[in-house]
């Protein structure tokens, strides 16, 4: 397990060229505002916390008045809600799900178990720190947090998105080696996902100095190449 602790590392902000067009900034701000007011969430019912999401979504607390709605597949979603302890078997699926989401994407860890294992700290079956495997924007602690707490947490995330501070998804590209290393530690060196994170980082110019490293070398050595898809109807 790599020892670097990423919780305090900031994403290195690329210097943005000053644009003379005043509307460029307006447009960016509009998009950030819309991002914060329209959040499609994919709630992966990894654990107990999932039971407090239906109350938060339905008639009594009604998340939709804040523009939050549940979505069905990772491609459509912006927020990945990890609702509770993540067993190792689930963690694999969580990572697959996370990588399939389109950026900007945000992760919220609900329940104490995602922070530090919670009351299952002794358990051989659950992963303890979620942010070793995927970057987490926000934790909502509690066992389990009440719907009010969930909505409060989502509102905090909204505030962060509005000011463009919720950038943890960039951390995944920039420090991919670290996350991959932790994943390999748990799942073995044969671990690979169908999403080409390094390729994506290159395409969208999100590469950092730590994107590649010893763990990605292991990945490259075991990776089966992705074949192009034939068109069919």
């Amino acid at each position: 397990m790599s020892n670097t602790d990423l919780s305090n590392i900031e994403v290195n902000q690329k210097p943005v060229a000053k644009r003379s067009n005043p509307f460029a900034n307006v447009f960016n701000e509009l998009v950030s505002f819309c991002r914060s007011r329209s959040m499609f969430m994919l709630h992966y019912c990894t654990g107990c916390g999932a039971i407090e999401l239906p109350p938060a979504m339905t008639s009594r607390f009604d998340m939709e008045r804040l523009g939050i709605q549940p979505m069905v597949t990772p491609r459509q979603a912006d927020i990945l809600l990890i609702t509770g302890y993540v067993s190792i078997k689930t963690l694999k699926r969580v990572i697959l799900t996370y990588e399939q989401m389109g950026a900007p994407k945000y992760v919220i860890g609900i329940c104490s178990c995602t922070v530090n294992g919670g009351m299952y700290w002794q358990s051989y079956a659950t992963a303890k720190k979620l942010d070793e495997y995927i970057p987490v924007d926000l934790y909502i602690a509690g066992c389990m947090p009440r719907p009010e707490a969930v909505i409060e947490g989502l509102q905090q995330l909204m505030a962060k998105i509005k000011t463009d501070e919720a950038n943890s998804w960039k951390k995944y590209y920039e420090h991919y080696d670290y996350y991959l290393g932790n994943q390999q530690h748990l799942f073995g060196n044969n671990w690979q996902t169908p999403t080409d994170i390094i390729g994506e980082a290159k395409t969208y110019q999100l590469e950092g100095p730590n994107t590649l490293g010893e763990h990605t070398k292991i990945l490259e050595s075991v990776q089966r190449p992705l074949e192009p898809l034939e068109m069919k109807l």
């Binding site: 998009v31 819309c34 329209s38 339905t58 939709e64 008045r65 898809l229």
Partner: protein, 300 residues
């Protein structure tokens, strides 16, 4: 020359108007659902926020050229259809197009979607699109019969003429009072074409995880959201033009089209969905029968 310029202006303006009205129709749909479900519902500009956000995504996951083209076809089909749908003050190219072209154009989006989804190679998407085409096959038959009946009644396939005839005679010459049976069949077909419960077989989250939308993210999903607002607009405005005398002015036009749309939307949130075969059986039985009876009345 002046007329042509005006027409071009109208052709550009009409889809924009349609889009804006469509957004409010989406909002109305979600608000109605919220009221039925005893909650508040989304804020006023929620549909717009969703679309802007989806287009502002920073990584767009495409599955290839056909995937892109499919979405463009899906939206483009409706954009073209809007220019053929007269609204108060703007006729666009409705007088030249006519009903038959419109009926064809409303099928283009489904086919475009089928192309795009086929490229994704997701089994859920493939099942979804095959269901969507099945349901299109089902509702198109009563839809075409209804259109034929209306054209026979008004002896024209020109929407401008049809609306003018209805407006000239007042309520007694509206399609709904001249051919009530056809109007009911038309409502059925319109509801089925919207793909809402009980005809929502191709989205079906619990069965096939939203079917055609399953691999769509970012601007592709945004495209589908735009398509949805066009779809609501097209269906309700077409119904208003055929049976409710179109819009004399903007106020009655909006009242009629929102009112017509409210009927299927309210029904949608009170019923579960049919199974695929049940849907085909139902749609081929009742709306088709009603439409045929209606046509028999019309031809008398």
């Amino acid at each position: 020359m002046q007329v042509t310029l005006l027409t071009i202006m109208e052709v550009i303006l009409m889809p924009i108007v349609a889009f804006i009205i469509g957004l409010f129709m989406v909002l109305m749909m979600r608000k109605l659902a919220a009221r039925l479900q005893r909650r508040v519902g989304p804020p006023l500009f929620q549909p717009l926020f969703d679309i802007v956000k989806l287009y502002g995504k920073q990584t767009q996951i495409s599955h290839g050229m056909i995937h892109d083209i499919g979405i463009i076809m899906a939206v483009g089909g409706y954009v073209a259809a809007e220019a053929l749908l007269p609204v108060p003050g703007m006729d666009g190219i409705a007088a030249k197009g006519g009903l038959i072209t419109l009926a064809y154009l409303t099928m283009v989006p489904s086919l475009g979607l089928a192309l795009g989804v086929g490229q994704c190679a997701n089994p859920n998407g493939s099942i979804g699109i095959s269901r969507a085409l099945t349901s299109m096959l089902a509702y198109d038959i009563p839809f075409i019969i209804v259109i034929f009946g209306v054209a026979y009644q008004f002896s024209s396939t020109n929407l401008v003429d049809i609306i003018a005839t209805q407006q000239a005679g007042g309520f007694s010459t509206w399609g709904i009072s001249e051919m009530p049976v056809l109007a009911v069949a038309g409502l059925f077909a319109m509801h089925a074409s919207l793909g809402k419960q009980p005809f929502e077989i191709y989205i079906a989250p619990a069965e096939i995880a939203t079917g055609p939308m399953v691999e769509m993210g970012g601007k592709f999903l945004g495209g589908l959201f735009v398509m949805q607002s066009f779809q609501l607009y097209t269906a309700s405005v077409l119904y208003v033009s055929l049976f409710l005398g179109g819009g004399e002015n903007w106020i009655t036009f909006l009242l009629k089209s929102f009112g017509v749309l409210a009927i299927p939307v309210v029904i949608a949130y009170l019923f579960p969905r049919y199974r695929t075969d049940d849907l085909v059986r139902l749609v081929w039985k009742w709306p088709v029968m009603l439409a045929l009876i209606g046509i028999a009345f019309v031809m008398n």
